[in-house]
């Protein structure tokens, strides 16, 4: 008996060893070309900037201090780095507004798709999936075409004599916002749809039987039931929006920066790699907090229903 148990144990540990071997290539590739280098960023954030970019191997907290404070070059006192703080605030605000707007547009859209007959549903879904998988750069470029001074909107308005000069829409926060809502919308619709697809309409029917208005049904039955989808969609939009680089750099121009562009600046013209590293770690921490909040929420949702 114990012998048999022993063989089963040996079998099991052999199986686990085999499974580790099988997953080794994937784990190694990710370790070398994705996860591992993040540790180097952490180390670099505590070093001194080199004169031509890169770093000098002298430990320093300056990178971290510079994230929110700036040193006066004359008297050496510290004050709040307004430029950085305002970029932080702008990034978070723009990402939050993007999330809310995509939710306001995405929710009815996902609901519309989920309530189509089985046959046409796939087609509507494909219409959302195509933009999802087409190049983000091209979609941003498409928005640029529409809102440029020589673009579609200004062109039409000028043609019909509604305006005398083109309206400056490009290189504003509004342009970044429009672009981000446009490119991230599919990321909101898809998870929303996934949870609405499973919606039990008998509950909705029960609501109507109890004389609820359509709005009340929406508020008290549908929204609570698809809450996991709402949260998943919001996270999926918020995280890439916060780290967005391509969309703000094309639509925001050089002035209206977001965190991603500020980080890039430190590795380019700014030549302050430690500051850039510290900013990167900060961005990652914000994302981690958002993800943890999501996991906790999803966890408690799961335990409540299971």
């Amino acid at each position: 008996m114990s012998e048999a148990a022993g063989t089963i144990e040996a079998e099991k540990s052999r199986d686990i060893r085999k499974r580790w071997l099988l997953s080794l290539p994937a784990l190694l590739i990710i370790l070398v070309a994705a996860s591992g280098p993040l540790l180097i960023v952490l180390v670099y954030s505590f070093l001194t900037p080199g004169p031509y970019g890169d770093v000098q191997w002298l430990p320093s907290l300056e990178g971290w201090i510079n994230v929110v404070l700036e040193k006066d070059i004359f008297d050496g006192t510290f004050s709040l780095a307004d430029a950085h703080v305002s970029i932080f605030v702008r990034s978070v605000m723009l990402s939050l507004v993007t999330t809310v707007l995509t939710l306001l547009v995405g929710f009815p859209t996902a609901y519309f798709i989920a309530t189509r007959p089985e046959k046409t549903r796939e087609l509507w879904l494909l219409l959302i999936t195509i933009p999802f998988w087409t190049n983000l750069l091209i979609r941003t470029f498409a928005i640029l075409e529409v809102i440029r001074n020589e673009g579609l909107i200004n062109g039409l308005l000028l043609k019909f004599g509604l305006i005398a000069r083109p309206i400056q829409m490009l290189f504003t926060d509004g342009a970044i916002l429009t672009g981000m809502v446009y490119v991230y919308l599919p990321l909101m619709v898809l998870p929303l749809y996934a949870s609405m697809e499973k919606l039990d309409f008998r509950l909705v029917e029960a609501g109507y039987d109890l004389y609820a208005t359509p709005f009340k049904v929406l508020r008290k039955i549908i929204i609570p039931l698809v809450k996991p989808g709402i949260i998943a969609g919001s996270i999926l939009v918020f995280i890439p929006a916060l780290g967005a680089y391509v969309t703000p750099s094309i639509l925001g121009g050089g002035k209206n920066l977001m965190l991603g562009n500020l980080i890039e600046l430190q590795f380019g013209q700014g030549r302050n790699w430690p500051l850039g590293s510290a900013l990167s770690i900060t961005l990652m921490l914000i994302v981690m907090v958002a993800l943890l909040a999501y996991v906790r929420n999803a966890g408690s949702q799961g335990s409540r229903h299971g």
Binding site: A33, P37, I40, T115, N135, F141, E145, Y182, I239, L283
Partner: protein, 266 residues
């Protein structure tokens, strides 16, 4: 005609959905439309012409960047799909074992870190390696692309595996198939649609990447997206529209095939 009351109806939702679909496709339609512009600028449409497509096909930089993009995407997607298939086999159809959660976290890690952070990390890391080894070829881009493609290739393969039970493999083993034979003649054919879907996702993701490529590439290693980003920041001619239209066409083809492959499996 009196409208029948439907419990599924919510006032205004259909209208918003229609506006949403319209708004999603209008900018893309404008972009495609102007790629056929005979005129020089985007300000006016002067008749239909294919001159910008012809221009794109004669632009050596565009050709080089496109070939480089395809080469990187092909190599990265093949390696990522093989690694992801092995990892999926190792992490499904088993009881929880020590380190399994760690593996999940690790494989999905590139999805959770903002791209700009990974890009910066790779810039620093590869800059060091370039100094140490003197090698500055496409290997860095391929390695970076492979890493962020793995989670995308992994998703459909794992989903497919989780819908397969072990009965068929056990039957094969009962009939004296070696583990390799059982894998080759039983598991692999069943898993194939998942692998194909994973490969296509990885290929598209690699082809589309801008941020990581922009930071990792050495001089003269522009891919099509980084070349386009550079051009968009300088001067825009309808040639950009023509290149975008071709790129869009390629993406839509891949997505449609992916959709069909995925649908057949149910």
């Amino acid at each position: 005609m009196a409208r029948t009351f439907s419990i599924r109806r919510q006032r205004g939702f259909t209208t918003i959905a229609m506006i949403c679909f319209f708004a999603l496709y209008l900018p893309i339609a404008v972009l495609v439309f102007y790629s056929f512009n005979a005129g020089d600028s985007l300000a006016s449409f002067d008749g239909i012409s294919l001159r910008w497509f012809a221009g794109a096909f004669e632009n050596q930089q565009v050709i080089d960047a496109s070939l480089r993009s395809l080469q990187i995407a092909a190599v990265a997607a093949v390696i990522a799909t093989i690694a992801a298939t092995m990892a999926a086999l190792a992490t499904t159809r088993t009881e929880a074992y020590r380190g399994l959660t760690l593996k999940y976290a690790f494989i999905n890690q590139p999805l959770m870190i903002p791209e700009i952070v990974t890009a910066v990390a790779l810039l620093i890391f590869f800059a060091r390696i370039k100094i140490w080894t003197g090698y500055s070829g496409l290997g860095y881009l391929i390695a970076a692309h492979t890493a962020f493609c793995i989670p995308f290739a992994y998703l459909p393969i794992r989903a497919r595996l989780e819908n397969m039970d072990l009965t068929l493999e056990k039957a094969a083993a009962d009939l004296y198939a070696t583990p390799w034979k059982a894998f080759r003649y039983v598991t692999l054919p069943l898993l194939w649609p998942g692998i194909l879907a994973g490969f296509m996702l990885a290929f598209v993701i690699s082809l589309d990447d801008v941020v990581i490529t922009e930071f990792v590439k050495s001089a003269g290693q522009d891919t099509l997206p980084t070349y386009m980003l550079g051009q968009i920041r300088r001067t825009i001619t309808p040639e950009m529209n023509a290149i975008s239209t071709l790129f869009l066409f390629l993406s839509i083809c891949v997505v449609t095939v992916f959709f069909i492959v995925n649908r057949k499996r149910v």
